[in-house]
Amino acid sequence: MEFTDATIIQLLKRRDETGFEQVFKFYFKNLYRYALTIIQDHDQAEDIVQNVFYKLWDKMDSLNLPDSLAAYLYRAVYNESLNHLKHKKVKLTYQTHITRSMKDQTDGAHRKVMFSELERRLQTAINELPEQCRTIFQMSRFEELRYLDIAHRLGISVKTVENQMGKALKLLRMRLIDYLPLLVLLLLNFLNHRP
């Protein structure tokens, strides 16, 4: 007997709480991290993930999943996170917020400060990737899943994962291209002036 997302949805539709708990706990960490990388606010990130699960639980009877449960959850978290940014009109202060939180993490180390600018740009560029691209990048980079695992979870082909990852790095490079040579210079400069 083969179990598919469809089978699981069938079972979840019976409002089986234990089954739901498994799904919740399996996805929570990664979805939370996903929301957090976009909105940079721990409490709000958890609220967003809670809401996404609540909607899933609430609408389970009428839910129609076109692709996979994971694809649905990631897309929902992505959309809710963007809505949150839009709704709260924090988008304008977003940049400064990230800069500040990045600086807070730096413990004053010299190199780290120089790198915070790259990190900020990198963070912004990653969050500007289109939804599917963004989700796949998240799974590959931060969840360290292999292409095959990502394809399985999202119900897409490995070829699509390859294309989207190629696209992701290409877009990131284009967004950062002006900064990359500077970074190398900074590094070399730093080394030469080290005591």
Partner: protein, 358 residues
């Protein structure tokens, strides 16, 4: 769509980003590898382009490292969620008796207590209860199956003692204590090992068609048929080659390491050090021998600390002492006594700490 891949002014000529990223992530076939490596060697601009990808990939690794939710946080979130769905104004949600008894039978963490008071006794026929139970087990199996069916990676982890294991291709690996490696299920097709933490010695089964690669979080070691030791601790990676040749790459370097050479890399630092070494002290976890060859006393002490989980303090006035001997299968006490006799020094022991002093 593909057109723009080739018109990006700084972009690659004659290769797709998809393939480069696959290569970067170790997802490529040997044919792909050959293609990418030929392309990389063809023009310094190509390597420059690829270095950008490497740099982006590497630097994004530690973004939001502190964004991971703990298990406790996950459990708390689940409890919060349960409260939400069990609010009194909700009309649905309670489990049937059959589901609850079954639930208790299959729960893996018996430590948690469920709120049974909400269970509403129902008068469902017995076949419905059986069906519910079967479905419940099926659902959990399904989830477990789903989360596992994507060919899970194999994990080899040592805890309090070194561990030797043979990889599916016949390569031999010895892990020092508290070290983890991971390799893909299709290892024979794709010989890649991630050293997740700690230290390992590799003796690689030669196979020219399938290069063997070892990844740490920031460097890649490509093996050209050889044996070598990798130690990845506290932001420093040390690689010592015993035989053959390896190639070490990270986002800024690409170096070859020969036998009796030791390569040292520090995370967050672009410099690397290569030094000649004949010391075999590092082999202790594999050979059970501490080979001291004009070894400074503090260096031996550091290895003993690691091997025996003790703290050894060497008085500054003794740091210049060097020792020539082999300790083979001896207890820590015996070794300490030999050191004591050899140098005529004093040893003081106090709760887990050994102090060597004049």
């Amino acid at each position: 769509m593909n057109k723009d891949l080739h018109t990006d002014p700084g972009g690659p000529q004659g290769i797709y980003e998809d393939l480069l990223v696959k290569y970067l992530l170790g997802e490529t076939s040997p044919d792909d590898n050959a293609r990418v490596e030929t392309w990389l060697a063809a023009d310094p601009a190509n390597r420059h382009f690829y270095n950008h990808f490497q740099l982006i990939w590497r630097e994004s690794r530690h973004l939001n490292d502190n964004f991971n939710a703990s298990d406790e946080q996950t459990d708390a979130a689940w409890q919060k969620f349960q409260q939400k769905i069990h609010r009194p104004d909700r009309t649905r949600g309670p489990l049937s008796e059959g589901q609850i008894s079954n639930l208790q039978a299959v729960r893996s963490d018996p430590g948690q207590i469920h709120d049974h008071t909400r269970a509403v006794p129902t008068s469902r026929p017995i076949w419905a209860k059986v069906a519910a139970a079967v479905l419940l087990v099926a659902s959990i199996t399904g989830i477990i199956y789903l989360t596992r069916n994507a060919a899970p990676d194999k994990l080899v982890a040592s805890t309090t003692a070194p561990l030797t294991d043979t990889l599916p291709d016949g390569s031999l690996i010895t892990l020092n204590k508290r070290s983890d490696i991971r390799y893909p299920a299709n290892f024979k097709q794709q010989r890649t090992v991630h050293l997740l933490k700690g230290e390992a010695f590799f003796k690689i089964a030669p196979n020219k068609e399938k290069p063997f690669k070892v990844y740490t979080d920031n460097i890649t070691i490509t093996v050209l048929g050889t044996s070598f030791n990798v130690r990845n601790k506290e932001n420093t990676t040390e690689i010592i080659v015993e035989s053959g040749l390896i190639r070490v790459t990270d986002s800024l370097h690409d170096v070859l390491v020969h036998p009796s050479e030791k390569l040292i890399l520090h995370r967050g630092d672009t410099s690397l050090t290569k030094e000649g070494t004949t010391s075999r002290l590092y082999q202790y976890y594999r050979t059970k021998e501490f080979v001291c060859d004009n070894t400074p006393l503090p260096q031996l002490a550091a290895s003993l600390e690691e091997a025996y989980d003790v703290k050894i303090v060497v008085d500054p006035s003794l740091r210049h002492l060097r020792i020539n001997t082999v300790f083979s299968n001896q207890s820590l006490d015996q070794i300490i006594n030999i050191i004591k006799e050899t140098f005529g020094i004093n040893v003081e022991r106090s709760d887990g700490q050994i102090t060597l002093q004049p």
